[in-house]
Symmetry: C2
Subunit: 119 residues, 2 copies
């Protein structure tokens, strides 16, 4: 797995608070999943979730504030695009814990191996 | 990097909502960082953050609800322990986006390389 953690992406408590808050809602995560396929208008981001445009817009504003999404007006339509780079902050934050859970799982695997040897 | 994604850990929208919500507060993240060093009592988790016991307890309840922490009473003291395995859900959720940002960064690197060739 390749991890390019760029120092140009702000990594601080404010950024992480906003990021995790933005990700704590399943509708916003679904909007991000839609945007992986390519940019979309606000209507396209409202329709599959049976949402009003203002409701979809409100969720997108939280995603924009967390810098996960950028929206631009083209003619009369607002188009939104995924900015996945900021998720490197989550990746970076996970590092310490990843080591910890792998260690725990290794110990569990060793325990299971010992138990089956004893049988 | 070794990723052991265990299917025994529930992965669904409810679990992810709770998990990201629990992580969206810097005090709770600091409590987790303290617990990486080993189990701690609620007082030990309140003191460095200059918090009251009820305030520390409230944050720990959010972490317990997200299954990031388990607390047990030993005598008159509650001890809390980190349960990092559930963070594999975050790791798992990141997968699609990780590919996407690496692709974007590769394209950027290619563009920079082309620009410097032209100079």
């Amino acid at each position: 797995m390749k991890v390019n953690y760029s120092k140009s992406i702000p990594y601080n408590d404010d950024a992480l608070d906003r990021l995790f808050k933005a990700l704590s809602d399943r509708t916003r995560r679904a909007q991000l999943a839609r945007l992986v396929k390519g940019p979309a208008s606000i209507s396209e981001l409202a329709e599959p979730f049976d949402m009003s445009l203002p409701a979809a817009s409100k969720h997108l504003k939280v995603l924009e504030k967390a810098k996960l999404v950028s929206c631009k007006k083209s003619g009369r339509v607002h188009y939104c695009q995924l900015q996945p780079e900021v998720l490197q902050n989550v990746e970076h934050w996970l590092t310490d814990y990843r080591e910890f859970w792998n260690e725990k799982l290794d110990k569990l695997a060793q325990f299971v191996a010992r138990e089956s040897d004893d049988e």
